[in-house]
């Protein structure tokens, strides 16, 4: 791997945009570097399901001509991005990582695809995922497991597994993922990148395969918090094609990035997120990060939240019947095409009583009330993103009579899919085994700017986000 190429592919959107707008860097060279890196590394990582080389180079050339003609569209113009394969791109397959939809060709672009194209981003291809996004580990027997770029025997987490691995390994500059129980933030955490789950309704889900309509979010996965903000400036906004889309005013998501930490109150839950079951190295890294934030101007406030452990059961208790409702027809017709683990998850949902779903929805109202009350005196919460270190792929692969690892992965992230709050994972350290540790910053609904402000401030104080994985095996 040439050092120059590697330097280019590890730059952030914020670093690349001025080079592209000034003509110093050609989008064609950047896209070619991205394609070269994919061709060298993806056989080791399995992040991509489809790479559109010709179209990407054609679009990069068009971007170059537009920019030369003085029509620069903004920071994403000419930037190589990838889409989780739940997101429609007109005329190409959207498979959901499943044999069931192998022949499913999208008739139109998802709203987020159209927005990225309009902003001049170069869509390089489709990214691997857990089948139908219904799982947390990144293991998918149909499309092959995605490997963690920091240690290819370990999982990336999921379900946006390919998105995380592709960004973390420098194959693309940014990606889109989806998050229903933590599928943007968990893989961001285990792969050492930034991942933002925006407020529910902030980013359109039109043209994105559903898993659970009242929990699904689409969000950016990038190298830095600033890049998440730049992506959000393109992605956010009301969309009549999405019944849950919010008409709330859309801010400039970069506007508060430089606000620093002075005057901010950061809540630290005294229950659940820092309990004994959490891995000790994860705890130490997140506590160290909190101390650093406090030393640089933030006020730390301990919050008693004895009810917060109910969040993940409510999350799963709503996802399951909604997923069954979505898959009822397809699984009736094509049960044999589902992978056994996902088929079992969906089939188990047929057994959920209606009253249990209604109870879960009422519990969600109750839970959101508790969360709003608890956070009424703070700006954000900080917690670990996931409670465990990345397990091995072997330990997460189902087989008869074996207990599968990784069931704890979504214990923390799922809480904030229930509340719909903006929630952001950024790197805050490494385990002794060399895999990344993430911390999660969660804010008030529709207050992404404050969440991003805290993330950016932390990144100015540390260099965890600037360390690329160095030992990705390159096949001969």
């Amino acid at each position: 791997m040439g050092r120059q190429e590697s330097d280019l592919t590890y730059k952030s959107v914020a670093e690349l945009a001025p080079l592209i707008s000034s003509g110093e860097l050609s989008p064609r060279d950047l896209v070619q570097a991205s394609l070269d890196r994919i061709s060298q590394l993806d056989s080791s990582l399995n992040a991509f399901l489809d790479v559109w080389e010709k179209e990407s180079l054609f679009n990069a050339r068009a971007a170059e001509n537009e920019i030369a003609a003085g029509r620069y569209l903004g920071p994403l113009h000419g930037i190589p991005v990838g889409l989780k394969d739940l997101i429609d791109v007109k005329g190409t397959p959207t498979t959901g990582g499943s044999k069931v939809l192998a022949q499913n060709i999208a008739g139109s672009d998802a709203t987020v695809t159209a927005k990225l194209k309009a902003a001049g981003a170069i869509i390089i291809g489709k990214l691997n995922l857990v089948e139908f996004a219904f799982g947390t580990t990144g293991v998918n027997p149909t499309t092959g497991d995605v490997k963690n770029p920091w240690n290819t025997t370990r999982i990336t987490a999921g379900s946006s597994s390919g998105s995380a691995a592709a960004v973390a390994s420098g194959m693309i500059t940014a990606a889109l993922g989806t998050d229903t129980g933590g599928s943007v933030r968990m893989p961001a955490s285990l792969c050492g990148i930034a991942g933002l789950k925006p407020t529910y309704g902030r980013v359109s889900r039109a043209g994105v395969l559903d898993l659970s309509w009242s929990m699904d979010h689409v969000g950016p996965m990038t190298r830095t918090t600033e890049d998440c903000a730049l992506m959000m400036n393109v992605l956010a906004g009301f969309d009549p094609r999405d019944s849950a889309s919010s008409s709330n005013t859309v801010p400039d998501f970069t506007s508060e990035l430089s606000g620093g930490l002075d005057g901010l109150k950061i809540g630290i839950p005294t229950h659940y997120f820092f309990d004994e079951f959490v891995d000790s190295e994860v705890l130490a890294s997140v506590r160290s990060a909190i101390n650093l934030l406090e030393a640089n101007g933030a006020e730390i406030v301990e919050l008693s939240m004895p009810w917060v452990g109910k969040g993940r059961p409510i999350n799963f208790g709503i996802i399951l019947p909604e997923a069954v409702s979505i898959h009822e027809k397809m699984i009736g017709e094509h049960a044999d095409l589902y992978t056994p683990a996902v088929r079992a998850r969906i089939q188990s949902g047929f057994n959920v009583a209606a009253i249990d779903y209604v109870r879960a929805q009422r519990a969600r109202q109750w839970f959101n009330h508790q969360m709003a009350e608890s956070m009424s005196n703070v700006d954000v919460l900080i917690t670990p993103t996931v409670p465990i270190q990345a397990p091995t792929i072997a330990d997460c692969t189902p087989s008869p009579g074996k207990s599968v690892a990784g069931s704890e992965l979504a214990m923390f992230t799922g809480v904030f899919d229930v509340t719909g709050q903006p929630s952001h994972s950024i790197p805050c350290g490494f385990t002794s085994g060399g895999t990344p540790i993430g911390m999660m910053i969660t804010g008030h609904p529709f207050d992404e700017p404050t969440v991003l402000r805290v993330g950016h401030a932390f990144e100015q104080l540390t260099n965890w986000h600037q360390r690329p994985p160095t030992d990705i095996p390159v096949p001969n």
């Binding site: 109150k265 059961p313 056994p340 079992a344 005196n377």
Partner: protein
């Protein structure tokens, strides 16, 4: 018996939904079923009196209160 642990119940529900359940599926569902049972048992413990969702869930903007 908890319905999540009852193979006959699964079989009946599968027939109702025209699903074929293989032996392997039944085993898999059994292991997922324990998680499902634990999930709803946890939810049933919550006193949700007065928390009826009126409409599709939409978050309400909020900010930190003044000191």
């Amino acid at each position: 018996m908890n319905p999540f642990d009852d193979p006959q119940h699964f079989s009946d529900r599968a027939q109702e939904h025209q699903l074929e359940i293989s032996e392997e599926d039944a085993r898999n569902i059994g292991s997922v079923g324990a998680d499902v049972a634990t999930t709803y048992a946890a939810i049933r413990q919550i006193d949700t009196t007065g928390f009826e969702p009126a409409a599709i869930f939409v978050p309400t903007p909020s900010k930190r209160k003044g000191d």
